[in-house]
């Protein structure tokens, strides 16, 4: 520090930075942060509070949820208690599953991967808040006992004589009007909508358009950008409450819904044992004058944001609320979710099978153009996780490991019908195996079809399972459930040793990809729900992580190319499958983006796909992050139409309005001519 130089000279700055770096060189790292300690902490947490946040968040973020699968189950503590639960619960089966009649089935505790179904059940509502409190305590005790690996069983009080009572089964009577398709043309201009899970069910996203303006989630703010002119125009900025984190927006018919999660801090007794409580809020704005957005209403409910869906002008807001298991009985707001500041009444809380639980999925509906008007709210107690919303029903699923009535992992399914803003519980059940993502569950003609990866969880010694337990054996199952969630058809033990990487149900045919070394693309005939059958199995290297129908008889796969050893990925791979004959599916074209090691197709909303325009786009990761757009020709195959290296690591969306293509990444929007992708304008928000 002797010489005096220009303070801002680069070399000098570098030197100060080096000093700073040097000064931190010998920083003592607290023992608690050493990787080994962190591992212990995670295992502990997984063991005791297994049902908490993680699975939910995994599942909650759209398709990002996915791989809950395998390895994890080996880490849980398995006690004999599992077995007792199984015996009890099987007695309560509302219906004998086809499995139980299966002569192959041996007694409980046998080691082969079996599928035992608990049976479908009606959704009953809570008697009172005390009943809920007891369930939460039962859940807590269960895990505490499991954690201490107590000799004595923890099954006290959890005899699973699940009540079947006042809830009524509901039939499929509402067909519902179409809420819009993959693209719209309000204002007479064609534009692209978010790539949604279910045609006809709208979804929020980080960038939306109504065909006129762009609505963009930009950090803690929402920006409205006009696209009417050649150059984009920043019209308005909406700031949400301080400390709130906008997740998504949805724009339609002059209204804009902004969904965010806010945390409210409650002081504890001495100011240090306070806690945060999360609320999910939807603010609705009138944006008929996009320069002067006007807030017209607000919905607030407990829990953090899971997803929202829009159909028939109604918004359905789903959040996940975790009960404070340490709360006193009289402190109801710590364990009963609220909507608009009021506790949800017991007749709107659906109780779980098994008499235990600590999480809820809270669902509220409201009219987009009258958010403070008639609303409906329900809380589905005992589940929160991946949600699939068909045009008529909301399915809330949760992966279950190790705790259940089965020696394999399971998925619980709770079904709530919806239409015109009304919500009503329909039923609940469990199936063996876990879902890869929301494309692994699909409703068609009243039937629910699922493809799951089944992993054995039992047969382990009591106590903590060693870290390096051999990988559990896996296989895959396909189920067809009727509208009461009774299994009517199934195929089991598919692709042993592999797990599902992607799936897509297209009407009466289902396609799914499993992977270990090669990529079998299975096609399944589902035309007879009671007798699904495998039509074909195409084996090619690599795997597809996302499948998208691409016009007549074609299915696009985006995934990874993998070498023969099944270990090294060789780049991002595009495959076009000819599915015109589902029993003879062929890969007709492929394309590998070398040196790229991943894509964001994990979140289907990040995929731009317009089959009519013959364009699809996504972000690929390599040494840098790139947005790529491709077209497809049956003779010449895939052709890259556009590539743009992106600056950071945020999410990117591509969409078009009229003849312009917009690339939204972080706080930057670039405008291109849709024809030829020549850059027209850019805007930094």
């Amino acid at each position: 520090m002797e010489e005096k130089k220009n303070l801002n000279s680069e070399a000098e700055e570098k030197k100060v930075e080096d000093f700073l770096s040097e000064s931190a060189k010998d920083t003592e790292i607290p023992d608690s942060l050493l990787p080994g300690e962190i591992e212990k902490k995670i295992l502990e947490k997984e063991r005791i509070r297994k049902k908490r946040r993680r699975r939910h968040i995994l599942a909650g973020t759209a398709a990002a949820g996915v791989c809950l699968v395998a390895g994890i189950s080996g880490y849980f503590l398995i006690t004999d208690h599992t077995r007792e639960m199984r015996n009890e619960t099987s007695e309560q089966s509302a219906s004998a599953s086809s499995e139980e009649a299966n002569p192959e089935e041996t007694g409980p505790g046998e080691s082969s991967v079996t599928s035992r179904i608990l049976g479908a059940d009606l959704l009953t509502t809570a008697e009172d808040y005390n009943e809920i409190y007891d369930y939460i305590q039962a859940e807590k005790e269960y895990w505490e006992n499991a954690a201490s690996a107590a000799e004595e069983s923890a099954a006290d009080g959890s005899s699973a004589d699940s009540s079947t009572g006042n809830a009524e089964a509901r039939s499929f009577d509402s067909s519902g009007a179409d809420a819009g398709s993959a693209s719209g043309n309000a204002y007479g201009t064609e534009y692209s909508d978010t790539n949604v899970r279910e045609e006809g069910v709208g979804e929020g996203d980080i960038a939306k358009t109504d065909g006129k303006n762009l609505y963009i989630v930009n950090g803690e703010k929402i920006d409205i950008v006009g696209t009417g002119q050649t150059e984009m125009e920043h019209l308005a900025q909406i700031e949400t409450e301080e400390g709130s984190y906008p997740s998504e927006v949805y724009a339609q018919d002059g209204y804009l819904a902004v969904v965010y999660t806010k945390s409210e801090y409650s002081d504890g007794e001495n100011g240090y044992d306070g806690y945060y409580r999360d609320y999910t809020c939807a603010d609705v704005y009138d944006v008929s004058d996009p320069e002067e957005p006007e807030k017209i209403g607000e919905i607030t409910q407990s829990g953090y944001f899971n997803t929202m869906r829009i159909r028939g002008g109604y918004v359905y807001l789903l959040s996940s609320f975790y009960a404070d298991t340490g709360a006193a009985r009289e402190n109801q707001s710590a364990y009963i979710p609220e909507v608009q500041g009021k506790l949800i009444s017991t007749d709107c809380i659906y109780m779980p099978q098994g008499r235990m639980g600590n999480s809820y999925t809270v669902i509220s509906s409201f009219d987009l153009d009258d958010p403070d008007g008639r609303t409906d709210s329900k809380a589905v107690f005992g589940n929160t996780g991946l949600c699939y919303v068909s045009t008529e029903n909301i399915y809330i699923t949760e992966s279950i490991y190790g705790e259940s009535d089965s020696d394999v992992n399971q998925t619980s399914i709770r079904k709530v019908s919806y239409g015109d803003g009304k919500l009503e519980g329909v039923g609940q059940t469990k199936v063996s195996g876990t879902l890869n993502d929301s494309f692994s569950i699909d409703e068609y003609n009243g039937y629910l079809r699922l493809v799951t990866t089944v992993t054995k969880t039992a047969g382990q010694a009591r106590g903590v399972v060693p870290l390096f337990a051999p990988e559990p054996s896996e296989s895959n199952s396909l189920y067809v459930l009727d509208e009461n969630l009774e299994i009517v058809g199934e195929i089991r033990n598919l692709a042993a040793g592999e797990s599902v990487y992607s799936a897509r149900f297209l009407g009466e045919t289902g396609y799914f990809v499993t992977f270990r070394q090669v990529d079998p693309l299975f096609s399944v005939d589902l035309s007879d729900p009671a007798a699904p059958k495998i039509l074909g199995e195409l084996k090619i290297p690599g795997f597809s992580e996302y499948l998208h129908p691409y016009g007549d008889g074609l299915l696009l796969g985006i995934g990874m190319d993998v070498d023969e050893s099944g270990v090294t990925t060789e780049g991002v791979k595009l495959s076009m499958f000819d599915i015109s004959d589902p029993s003879d599916v062929r890969e007709v074209q492929k394309y590998v983006l070398e040196d790229m090691y991943g894509t964001d197709v994990y979140d289907y909303r990040s995929v731009f796909a317009d089959v009519e325009k013959n364009l699809f786009g996504f972000t690929a990761y390599g040494s840098s992050q790139k947005y790529c757009i491709f077209s497809y020709d049956e003779n010449s195959g895939f052709r890259q139409e556009f590539e743009r290296t992106l600056g950071g690591y945020g999410s990117t969306r591509g969409l078009y309005i009229g003849d312009r293509f917009y690339l939204v990444s972080g706080n930057t929007i670039e405008e291109y001519a849709l024809d030829g992708f020549e850059k027209v304008d850019d805007l930094v928000l």
């Binding site: 000098e12 700073l20 791989c67 390895g71 270990v567």
Partner: protein, 182 residues
């Protein structure tokens, strides 16, 4: 058995997402020193830094599904850590327990800890502690996270140009303090 040391990051992420704690720990082991340094320098408080990193790693484990497939784990972790540190700083402001913060300020060891003899290092740390929150964030991002101005700008919601000039100013400030001290 899978070798967690040698796996590529993409592979480790995939395994971690499937619940492989060892894979996750493998990812974490490569960056935890930098994470802690970042937290220590921005919060200026050992316990807060420890809490911030601890909270970050548990959050990351829980939210791993939100990590874009094979997005840079490091960058993602720093994003979470940044939020944690800001939350802590904000809360601290609200609670105004600055006294405590000062007492446990970095560089000043506890009663049992030996005072290190790197006088210069102490100076740098003390000088760093005088910078304001935003300046500390910017420099910590640059030095410990290895971020470019664009990335820092995205984290702190300002333009790269602003970051560059603020960084310049902060470094200049640091230098002046060090010159006067030395």
């Amino acid at each position: 058995m899978y070798d967690h040391e040698k796996g590529t990051e993409a592979d480790l992420i995939r395994r971690a997402k499937r619940g492989d704690v060892k894979a996750f720990s493998g990812l974490y082991s490569k960056i935890y020193v930098d994470l802690y340094k970042f937290a220590l320098y921005t919060t200026k408080h050992k316990q807060d830094a420890e809490d911030a990193v601890s909270e970050t790693v548990m959050t990351a484990w829980e939210k791993l599904g939100q990590l874009k497939k094979e997005e840079s784990f490091r960058s993602w972790m720093f994003t979470i850590l940044n939020n944690q540190c800001r939350k802590i700083l904000k809360k601290r402001k609200q609670e105004a327990v600055l006294e405590l913060a000062d007492r446990e300020r970095i560089g000043i060891r506890g009663e049992n800890g030996d005072e290190p003899d790197h006088a210069e290092i102490q100076d740098v740390r003390a000088a760093f502690g005088t910078l304001d929150e935003e300046e500390r964030m910017i420099l910590a991002f640059s030095v410990f996270a290895g971020y470019q101005s664009e990335e820092i700008g995205r984290m702190l919601e300002c333009s790269p140009g602003t970051v560059r000039s603020k960084k310049s100013r902060a470094l200049g400030k640091l230098r002046r303090i060090l010159e006067n001290a030395g």
